[in-house]
Symmetry: none
Subunit: 243 residues, 2 copies
DNA sequence: ACGCGGGAAAAGTATATACATGTATGTATA
DNA sequence: TATACATACATGTATATACTTTTCCCGCGT
């Protein structure tokens, strides 16, 4: 009867997933106020303490901001951590004082292959958005960005003009990332990649596979190919950070 | 009457302070078990839920480890996070069920080049340890590991037998890492690298540059070269992790 | 028009209670 | 002796309840 998902086992985790998913789907926006604890109690049929724990943990995780006597709000997007930042290539290029430009090669809605559907952890074969963008630094292509996006979380992905807004910025603004997976490898360029990046077949490329989750749902799957001789990924991390 | 400090205002924060203080003063040691929740209730005169919240938050902050049905223990020093783990190639290989073997090519004390001395942020040109090790997975070389180590932090680095103990394990045990810097790139193999890794010159390699700090001092500088076709780096990260 | 006071609403804390779940241990039985 | 069961104890979760603290807003009086 209740609107709670069937994902996590403890009840407060279900409430957390429920809230994160509804933030992801835009049910509550940045400006509006989330329901109060008592409204959640009425809507979900759980006790207030359980709702409170879910909200408290989401707050300490940085997703929400709560003001006593006022209400609960969605936290502004945070820089997350370490490896997540490396995806914002546009900001990096600009930060280096260079010019950034994008070229959108593909922006469509497709039926995923069986393998891709598996990566999305879909039960059924649901259509997903597919985009291919080349990012230039001073008119030199440095990155080929292929991305698959879950339309249940980001329904209007294909309405955007990604030659102006970076795909990264758009996604970060639309849905909170609760988990990230990265796989980094070095591969020789195939014919198509070489053409798009203006390099020779066989040249070294840095390949970054990336999956992001919002709650229990896979939000995006990306395949980022960097020209080895023109780009490297950097990160700096201090473990001495608190929750 | 109660042993609780007069520091923080909410009661559960006082309980947290109380527990942390007693860990700090050595009242409970690494091996012994902390009092049970009910024992805390009897000792401090607060409800079990309040004790539970204090213990839960200390656990999620990484100070404690709790086992249902067993008890509460002091957590071992932090396993750090994300990218740090990817350096322990020996553990990864073993975890995949494969055989790991190391070959030490160089283990010496050298005077660093001007550039290297700069990377160490040395004021004067101080001698550093230098090691080169090849790591094998089932007798196939997968990684070439060149490392420079600050002798003021790890004075007996050159006395070790790194064909037995992984350099990573040894360093992690000797000095705490407070900060890590990574730079990842894809490069073609040069002649010497190709020879050590049994690949062709020009083959794609994943190059990981790594610097670690202990406090304000650079502890290690590493250059890790992975065979692109035999290895990739993976990581998974949850901003809202529970542990 | 202005200010002030009071009440409603929201989050924060604390407790008592109950039950669930996992672990270790001792005892009875095959 | 070894296995199975019962039991005690530990943490984990869920609820109901009460009270506190803070903020917002509406209506009243001047």
């Amino acid at each position: 009867m209740s609107a709670l998902p069937d994902t996590a086992s403890p009840l407060y985790e279900k409430v957390k997933d429920y809230i994160l998913t509804n933030i992801g789907t835009g049910k509550w926006t940045k400006d509006s106020k989330l329901p109060s604890e008592n409204e959640f109690v009425a809507a979900l049929g759980v006790s207030r303490m359980t709702v409170h724990r879910a909200l408290r943990e989401l707050t300490s995780a940085g997703f929400l901001i709560r003001l006593q006597g006022v209400g609960t709000f969605i936290a502004p997007p945070k820089p997350q951590s370490t490896l997540i930042e490396i995806n914002n290539i546009a900001a990096e290029i600009v930060a280096r004082g260079n010019r950034h430009r994008s070229e959108v090669l593909v922006l469509e809605k497709i039926t995923p292959t069986k393998e891709l559907s598996l990566s999305f952890e879909f039960a059924k074969r649901t259509a997903v958005y597919h985009s291919v963008v080349v990012n230039f630094e001073n008119d030199l292509p440095v990155q080929l960005e292929e991305r698959f996006v879950n339309p249940s979380l980001i329904p209007d992905y294909d309405k955007q003009d990604f030659s102006k807004t970076a795909t990264y910025d758009y996604l970060m603004q639309k849905t909170p990332v609760t988990e990230v997976e990265h796989i980094i490898s070095a591969v020789p360029a195939d014919a198509e990649t070489a053409r798009h990046l203006a390099i020779n077949v066989g040249d070294c490329c840095l390949l970054l596979h990336r999956r992001t989750w919002t709650g229990a749902v896979v939000a995006t799957i990306s395949k980022l190919t960097y020209v080895g001789s023109r780009y490297s990924l950097g990160s700096r991390y201090s473990p001495s950070r608190k929750t």
